[in-house]
Amino acid sequence: MKIKLNPHHLVGFVHPLDVIKRLLNEKNNRNSMETDELLPLLSATAQGNKQAFAKLYNATSPKLFAISLKMLSNRAHAEEALQDAFVKIWHNASEYQVTKGTVISWMISIVRYRSLDSLRYHKVRKEQALDDDYASADDLTDLPLEVDYEDGSKLVDCIEQLDEQQKQAIHLAYYKGLTHSELVDHIETPLGTVKSWIRRGLQQLQRCLTL
């Protein structure tokens, strides 16, 4: 089968790997802890070095725990998610490649995905429970979010350019793990509008990030 390449399809297309490479080289995105410390520690962890794994834990667990805690709003659940994530990091350290992003980003993803699973599992349990044992499991009282970025990455510049609603929807999804329908309840906006805010916000982010 012949594939016809239309030059118009290539205009503006940036290969994701090129973006990752650029991000890794971007001074703006530097993280001294990352290059000096985390990569050697993760490499040693992949070889089964538990001292290195302990150091990796000491260096990253406060940030990763905070991410999980913010999403789950429940200390016990966040501790459980952190444990699961670090056990996974221990077993999967050898799967890390530089093309997957920085070490800390790779670790953040593992913690976030585990926390998302936990969040949805406990929400289902809460909905099924007749008592309110899980009443504090997804406390949303600290919303709307106050977001104060520490670093000046390009993502931060780009997200600041979004409409307020797009930014709020993306923040709530990223930090609190809210689904489309939960965003509908929280922002009191129709589902179609919420989906559109997120989709357009992400498209705008991508355009801004690849410029």
Partner: protein
């Protein structure tokens, strides 16, 4: 849905990373990640971008017992204490270490058989575990085929079958290796393309009774790598 569309892949990847892609759509996307380089790369790109948002979160140190539990789960008998994080329970580790040492000596005496020289062959094994690290299937590859043992920890669904797949390096389409046992031991014939050096990943999928109706995994549940010893 047209998964060849790069814009669509980018948006699905972004919503996967963000967390708004959920339920069956999220599982479909995870399955797609197994078989498509473009999907994986788009996902890594969004992870690298969006995880910069975490810079706004102020660090919170977890309690020391979290590290203790992680240590227990990764290998209780051999944890090397980091003075900062595990000192309070050091005596427990010491006791574990002594028990483990004694067990190793007993095991060595059982295994060591000087009258029968052991052939030094490369062994290929794989272990599938669930999210809580419970073993589910142990796979031992020999010249004839694959010997697969279902763990006691496996709670298999009676209305479904579990199918084993291999994903070859540089290839998108998973290759079926056969149905996994729900209990006990089962042998599977080795596919002619089964070569440890070429295998990127092994995967288990949940399928209707009898196996995948489409020739592709229906719902990927677990993945693991083939280990060479």
């Amino acid at each position: 849905m047209n998964y060849d569309n790069q814009k669509l892949i980018d948006m699905l990847a972004a919503e996967y990373v963000l967390g708004t892609l959920k339920g069956p759509a999220r599982k479909r996307f995870q399955r797609l990640m197994l078989s498509s380089n473009r999907v994986r790369e788009a996902t890594w790109m969004w992870e690298q971008h969006l995880n910069n948002l975490a810079s706004s979160i102020k660090s919170v140190a977890p309690d020391s017992h979290v590290w203790e539990r992680i240590s227990q789960r990764i290998e209780p008998q051999q944890v090397t204490p980091s003075s900062k994080v595990i000192t309070p329970k050091a005596s427990i580790w010491k006791a574990w270490s002594l028990i483990a040492t004694a067990a190793s000596i007993v095991l060595a005496l059982i295994v060591w058989q000087p009258q029968s020289p052991v052939e030094q062959l490369t062994q290929q094994i794989a272990l599938f575990k669930d999210a809580s690290e419970q073993p589910l299937w142990f796979i031992d590859v020999n010249e004839q085929g694959l010997s697969i043992k279902a763990s006691d920890k496996l709670t298999a669904r009676t209305d479904k079958d579990y199918e084993l797949w291999m994903i070859l390096k540089g290839q998108d389409a998973p290759i079926s290796l056969g149905l996994l046992p729900k209990d006990g031991v089962k042998s599977l014939l080795k596919d002619s393309r089964f070569n440890a050096q070429d295998i990127a990943l092994l995967a288990v999928s949940l399928e209707p009774i009898g196996g995948s109706p489409t020739g592709s995994p229906t719902e990927v549940l677990y993945t693991t790598e083939l280990i060479l010893l």
